[in-house]
Amino acid sequence: MTKKELFEEIKNNLIEMEEEVVEELCKKSLEMGIPAKETIQEGLIAGMEVVGQLYEEEEYFLPEVLICSDAMNIGIDVLKPHLEGDVSADKIRAVIGVVEGDTHDIGKNLVKIMLEAGGIEVHDLGRDVVLDEFVNKAKEVDAHFIIMSTLMTTTMEGMKIVIEKLKAQGMRDSVKVAIGGGPISQRFATEIGADLYTKDANEAVRKIKEIHEAA
């Protein structure tokens, strides 16, 4: 099997939700002496890109995306210890979470999956995240982005408060803020001074990369 064929196999099996096969093939790539970084990029991430498209086209829904993401993570677990050099230096770093008072996290989880598939380093604070935590974690990991989500109108205000906290700590210029969720809109994002609003996970990855490159 050639390298190209192997990458194709990994990609297709990821799309087909065959976690065990993906794991086996990733192990095989190491036996074949293929650099881990290449396998991750050409096999796993390439596969997740197709999954993202299928999700956008409404062929795949959450259950399918979750399993594909598991397949990707199993592959990454096999390959990560063999990554050469410090590949994290040039990665986009993001802190993500559901705003304090809200526990709806399916959308946030989907965004996290797509961001990781897009090569972004994501620090997930989970749900019902105390507002200070967004700022503290962003400081701790030197994040480029804080990404906040909520499905409830009653917790939207928290997003504005996080932005104010960033300003108070002199961090507003170095950390970009992206928001999303059911009741969120571009108008609300503009009103509170957020840098980005997107209506779904795929758009989020695209726009975050665009903003980061432009900066």
């Binding site: 829904f61 959450l62 526990t103 399916i106 109108t153 009653t154 009741p183």
Partner: protein, 327 residues
């Protein structure tokens, strides 16, 4: 014409002088802070308070029904989850899942929790001839994703269909039992909300495979008791509209993202909905009145909020909505 007659006429496909305006209960309830704040006991667990809250909702908001309970947690209690019983500011919610339950599906003996019995007693006290009493149940997908971590269940739907289906069936059988007893205690109709089954999350294929058989089963059971059932699904449900024709529901209720006109093109049953709850919570009276008129003009058969009301919603705003319908 009584409020009960008008609502039942709509569900029986008869034309009425105007649409009824209701807030069924369960996920979509109007026991907002302003309604319950004076009450000494918890309307989510004490039978007197539950009855009092239901009556108060009808009296001061203008909604034309009684509805209990006021949360989505009671149906999960038989499966040993931890529940926070809420307060005058927040609704009850699950605080700890029971992931272990899947290992015991065969042995589980599902029986009513204390609060389920409170609901049945409340219904029997609310029973009357003029105001429709709605018994509310949480839909099967929302219950299973309240008992175990939702992403685990969604994955199971692909990875271990047999187990996922079995769990869903155990829950559905309990819901049928609960609904039947609500009817026996005097509920005039059943309303079921299943937000976790939204088309946005499941898509048409998963929805048809898992949910339609369960909804059919529930609807058939309710119909055997000569009672009607309303089903509410949240979110962007365009992908599952056609499938819902097979659910057996006597009326289908939607979120504000689903256009009533568009839904009417696909659905055979009368439509219920869908005044924006964000508007009801944060909007001004005039805007609410206009929006309610628009919803009526779009052809809704039963006017109701689009989804769960924020507890901070003012009675003034709710009255703006209900008064507009009754004018």
């Amino acid at each position: 014409m009584t409020e009960k007659q008008r609502l039942l006429d709509v569900l029986n496909g008869k034309s009425t002088d105007r649409p009824p305006v209701i807030c069924p209960g369960g996920m979509m309830n109007a026991a907002v802070t302003e309604v319950v704040e004076g009450m000494k006991k918890n309307h989510n667990s004490d039978v007197d308070a539950m009855v009092e809250a239901a009556i108060k909702v009808h009296e001061i908001t203008g909604f034309e029904n009684y509805g209990v309970p006021f949360c989505m947690t009671i149906e999960s209690e038989p499966f040993d989850v931890e529940v926070d019983l809420g307060s005058k500011l927040v609704e009850p919610r699950i605080t700890k899942y029971n992931d272990d339950i899947l290992n015991h599906l065969d042995e589980i003996k599902v029986k009513h929790s204390k609060r389920a019995l409170v609901v049945l007693e409340a219904i029997s006290r609310l029973k009357n001839n003029e105001i429709p009493v709605i018994g509310n149940i949480t839909g099967p997908m929302s219950v299973v994703t309240s008992v175990i971590e939702p992403t685990d269940y969604y994955k199971m739907m692909r990875k271990d269909k047999v187990k996922a289906m079995k769990f869903l069936e155990v829950v559905t059988d309990y819901l049928i039992d609960f609904a039947n007893q609500m009817i026996e205690n005097g509920a005039d109709l059943i309303a079921m909300s299943d937000p976790s089954a939204t088309g946005e999350i499941l898509g048409k294929k998963n929805f048809e495979e898992f949910m339609i058989p369960m909804y059919k089963k529930i609807s058939e059971a309710v119909h055997r008791k000569e009672t009607k059932i309303i089903i509410h699904i949240c979110g962007k449900s365009k992908s599952i509209l056609e499938s819902l024709n097979k659910s057996g529901a006597d009326s289908l209720s939607f979120d504000s993202v689903v256009g009533i006109k568009e839904a009417k093109e696909v659905l055979k049953a009368p439509i219920m909905g869908n005044v924006s709850t964000q508007l009801l919570d944060q909007g001004e009276e005039e805007k609410i009145k206009l929006h309610t008129k628009m919803v009526i003009n779009n052809g809704t058969s039963i006017v109701s909020p689009a989804c769960g009301l924020a507890m901070s919603t003012s009675v003034k705003n709710l009255k703006a909505m209900t008064d507009t319908v009754k004018k």
